[in-house]
Symmetry: C3
Subunit: 336 residues, 3 copies
């Protein structure tokens, strides 16, 4: 049983209240029940503190006096909360050993302690590192490397020539190493360009459900260490994503683009091919990046949401915008 003092000691936090307060789970400020731990990290929710039924709240020092129950005081309550959630996780649920239905190529190499679920497939010459988990229907094609302690959730697919670092976590339906979209127009139709590269993923990356990362055309598509991708993201061939960059759901990155380190890309944004984005760039949701961004900072495109009848009038005027600007310039000159 976790107690208030045990958590405080483990994460180096101060606390107020009964050191032996038992903590049985995690809840939100609004809906926690007695025994649960909640957190306050966003001032938007400060009003919920007084009424919480949680037994313990993680919060900043400034909020401690207002807390109606025991508390853990953190310089960064959200980070402390993140660290504590791991203690309540029930893990990935894959039994030890290799399920008898798994199909493992004779030339594959499995380290000690690998766990493999039903109907998983491991291809020729692939190497699975110690402690890795391949859940049900995971597919590791030929010439892949799965690093130590990687987790491939059910129905993940590494098509071929995909090399994962250590502790990479891939969610269901993600496809790494499919052919990049390479075609050349010739005599009235398309010729396919064979995709001869692979995919390299650094340590500690996470890749969301149904995200796709294509193999490179000649060289590899690369994710550096600690890249975090949400669901349904498309990464084209030969893209390179810098360390610690986080990308929200449904973003599309076209081929051969380089994204820097510590970037934050908002949901459903688009990034065209063959450009470079500097370190520490933040891109707004649904923005389209059409040229290289050489300076750190926040960027956005798009127009605001409006009631449709108002929007329609403004949108119609957008088509006249250049003409309006010319008229305005003329009027201004005439007025000078």
């Amino acid at each position: 049983m976790l107690t208030l003092k045990a958590l405080a000691d483990r994460f180096g936090l101060d606390f107020r209240g009964d050191a032996d307060t038992p903590i049985t789970g995690i809840g939100t400020l609004a809906d926690a029940v007695p025994g649960q731990l909640a957190f306050l990290a966003n001032s938007k929710y400060t009003g919920q503190l007084a009424g919480t039924r949680a037994s313990v709240v993680i919060l900043g020092a400034a909020d401690a006096d207002a807390c109606p129950c025991a508390c853990l005081i953190s310089g960064n309550p959200y980070t402390s909360f993140a660290q504590i959630t791991a203690l309540f996780d029930d893990g990935d649920d894959l039994p030890d050993g290799i399920h008898p239905t798994a199909v493992i190529a004779a030339s594959a190499t499995l380290a000690a302690g690998v766990r493999i679920g039903p109907y998983a497939v491991v291809g020729e010459r692939s190497v699975i590192g110690a402690g890795a988990q391949l859940h049900a229907h995971a597919h590791v094609g030929n010439d892949c490397v799965v690093g130590e302690d990687c987790v491939l959730m059910p129905k993940t697919t590494l098509v071929k020539r995909v090399r994962l670092g250590n502790r990479v976590r891939i969610h269901s339906g993600a496809v790494l190493g499919a052919d990049g979209f390479g075609i050349a127009f010739h005599q009235g139709g398309w010729i396919k360009i064979a995709q001869l590269g692979g995919v390299r993923v650094g340590d500690d990356c996470e890749i969301g459900a149904n995200t796709t990362i294509d193999r490179g055309a000649i060289e590899d598509t690369v994710l550096e260490n600690d890249v975090r991708l949400d669901n349904q993201i498309q990464i084209g061939h030969n893209v390179r994503i810098g360390a610690h960059t986080a990308i929200a759901g449904c973003v599309a990155v076209a081929g051969s683009t380089r994204i820097g380190k510590y970037c934050l890309i908002g949901g459903a944004a688009g990034i065209v091919g063959h450009i470079e984005i500097a370190d520490k760039v933040t891109v707004g949701a649904m923005s389209l990046v059409t040229h290289s961004l050489t300076e750190a900072g926040e960027y956005a495109s798009g127009t605001p949401i409006q009631p449709k009848n108002e929007w329609r009038k403004n949108a119609a005027r957008f088509k006249q915008l250049d003409a309006m600007a010319r008229t305005l310039n003329t009027l201004k000159k005439n007025g000078d």
Copy 2:
């Protein structure tokens, strides 16, 4: 063999023509062949009525006189058509019983009449309701509930802690219950926040191919009853979607947002996180909702499609729009 009169009786419709007209299938007004039933529900297609080769047309009373063949007269021809299509559906094609290759955990509970296809997996402590169908490669992880008469099409995945109501239909490649995208920045890198919640889906929901619905961080992600999701939609953790809301393909909904009942969200729209959308809101295709919408009604954002050389000039002026507005205000003041 279905006849004109049999359909009229079954759905409470009036008819004109030979009561015994046999109906062997469904076609479009333009391409139906004799024996088929067509429908006219959109005045855009009224011109096709005179030339149809269909044996029977479902239509409104106002169009009956112009119909060159037998007809079924409905107050709502589209709804009547929808009801009749079900009679011509060939169903989901899954044989009775449990395929010998299915892997069912010892602690799982299967009700009577469950049908399970090849290579499906059912995890620990999961419960499958009467009449449910799990097609080939369906994956039901641990601690899930699949309600009565649910249909999980081939390669659907319920990762864990996913509870479906009755008559829920999930299409191939959909992933419910993957980890929400929860990360906290700490000492130069990302810490994962364990996702401790689940997904709850109400009765009569439909979830499209390759759609993803993440597990909640603490509490559940929720779809109320009769929510209809098209393909490739992304629903972030802790989102709540109200009853009878329909969402078109490729929409992205970020975490913790609440969408009301009877909403209609257009294709490829985006909805940011932590906002609330009222009941009966309609959002246009590819619009981005960046703040709460507290009133029912239609909303949109974006700019019109144009020939690229015209668009380019207008788009360039968008970057000067604030300056233009200031100049205009000055000119207006000077003119007053």
Copy 3:
């Protein structure tokens, strides 16, 4: 071992340098090592030619004099490169024969030379053509046709009534033939419209990873010959896509729309339902096509990416655009 002269002869190219120069692989101009072949097809990269370590470069006649090594001279270096890549491809890696775990319906028909991987499923009455490859976990539902030399990569799904021409290549996670999104509102809730059509795909099409193509409501959804779809594209029911059209990743096409031949649709673009797009239309990335486009040419919508604080000011003015236009018109009249 391939040599310079052998390649020149095979593809009808001129060459300069030692006819016996061995070619062991393909690299980029910047990173090729001795033994490798590189190509120069984009003047953006001309500066890399002088420093390349490649043994052979494919280039246009104008660049031949500047080449520091042997070269192949082509009227279209990119096309020649595309053709040559195929010689270095390691293929699709599926062993001959039918894996003992494949589940093949008794009523299915398999031609000679079909290769089927582990855990693949072939449904009732489906026909697999000569030389076709069904990789691991490929699912071919009932009443499907897979043409000659088709390749279904791991975890592709043909739900039902999907007919592929010859040489179609489908990537992992793609779902063809799921129910179209057809619902009718009736008495406060939704009725499902049974989707009675199928999907027809022409010869030489390629369909990207996690792309979805729904079955038609009554008639079929159709891709004509040589259509090329990238990843995560959504094609609604009853869409028709003309021959040789190429669509980049994450595009959404709503139901019943017809796209012409030789169109190029940019990444993450949207196309609404029930419209027609002429042949040879090019649509820009993330543009939304809201009405029929009857003339060939390039089209776009959207606003430019900007630093966020500048963008915010301009976006706010967008809501005043109609008012600005009216003011401007008044000022102009007064000035006349």
